[in-house]
């Protein structure tokens, strides 16, 4: 069966935005995992070596994780 070149034309329409979304979603999923591990490490290190800066570092790590999850949700919803 012959495949008409125009029948695959929809691929060119969706490929750029779909590819971008897939890349961004995958990147942000991995990034969120990185942010979770970072938060966990900060918690463990702050317990091992408590300093005056530890609460601030924990706060930054929580905000960092929250922002990465929020962007992931926005990307899934907006693309």
């Amino acid at each position: 069966m012959l495949v008409d070149g125009n029948s695959l034309g929809f691929l060119t329409n969706i490929s750029s935005s779909f590819g971008l979304k897939a890349f961004l979603v995958l990147f942000l999923i991995f990034y969120s995992v990185f942010a979770i591990i970072l938060l966990r490490q900060v918690q463990v290190m702050a317990k091992t070596l408590p300093t005056t800066l530890s609460p601030l570092l924990k706060f930054i790590a929580i905000i960092h994780l929250g922002v990465s999850l929020a962007i992931l949700i926005f990307v899934i919803g907006n693309f």
């Binding site: 961004l24 970072l38 962007i71 907006n78």
Partner: protein, 221 residues
């Protein structure tokens, strides 16, 4: 003839001056800076396995100058979109036409989140990679990667040799280097990497070892 004689002050030997300065730095200064790379008797810092009566004499981190390469990387990544977008021509023009302004904003925000993540991670690597000298032992907190953390220590009585090393142009210029501590413990060698004033620190470690050897076994002072 008068009985008074002219008293000529004797010059103080250089070694005594160094000892006096070290005594002043290590025992009379209490560092309150939480970001210090060289903190004698740091205030507000303790550690999980600290014993009663054990006090921190010195807290060390890698010299601040070692943060310059990651800082350059972060600055490079920060300005990259400003450099790449104007000079990339048709690729970004095509991309800008396929995505909405809100989506383009999300791409930019994702990029700067990534840059922030790298900066934060490199800072944490520096901040939590700590070496401690207490009146009982040396402690090495290693935080060398996302999934690597270890704590090792050796009591002062087990220390056999302390060897400071300053090698290279930048270490000589900024006065930092490695201190290799040979011990009789399970971990035969501790390396304090890229710490400031390695010679003074080595002298202080040896001073504490001598002081510890003068104590009765089990005594904490």
């Amino acid at each position: 003839m008068s009985g008074s004689r002219n008293i000529v002050p004797r010059p103080i030997p250089k070694r005594d001056i160094i000892n006096l300065v070290n005594e002043e730095i290590f025992h009379n200064i209490h560092s309150k800076n939480p970001l210090a790379m060289f903190a004698p008797q740091p205030v507000g810092i303790s550690f999980e396995i600290q014993e009663d009566g054990e006090k921190i004499i010195l807290l060390l981190r890698a010299h601040l100058i070692t943060l310059i390469p990651p800082l350059i990387l972060v600055i490079f990544l920060f300005v990259l979109p400003f450099v790449v977008v104007p000079f990339s021509g048709s690729i970004f023009t095509a991309l800008a036409l396929t995505v909405l302004p809100g989506q383009f904003l999300l791409i930019i925000v994702s990029w700067y989140l990534f840059v922030f993540g790298i900066a934060f991670f490199r800072f944490l690597l520096w901040y939590f990679n700590v070496y401690l000298l207490t009146n009982e032992r040396i402690v090495d907190f290693d935080f060398k990667g996302l999934l690597f953390k270890s704590t090792s220590y050796a009591i002062l009585r087990q220390i056999e040799d302390v060897d400071p090393k300053i090698l290279g142009f930048f270490p000589t210029f900024f006065h930092y280097g490695d201190i290799i501590v040979q011990t009789a413990s399970e971990i035969p060698e501790f390396v304090f990497e890229k710490v400031a004033r390695p010679d003074d620190v080595s002298r202080e470690i040896l001073g504490q070892v001598r002081h510890e050897e003068g104590e009765a076994p089990g005594e904490i002072s």
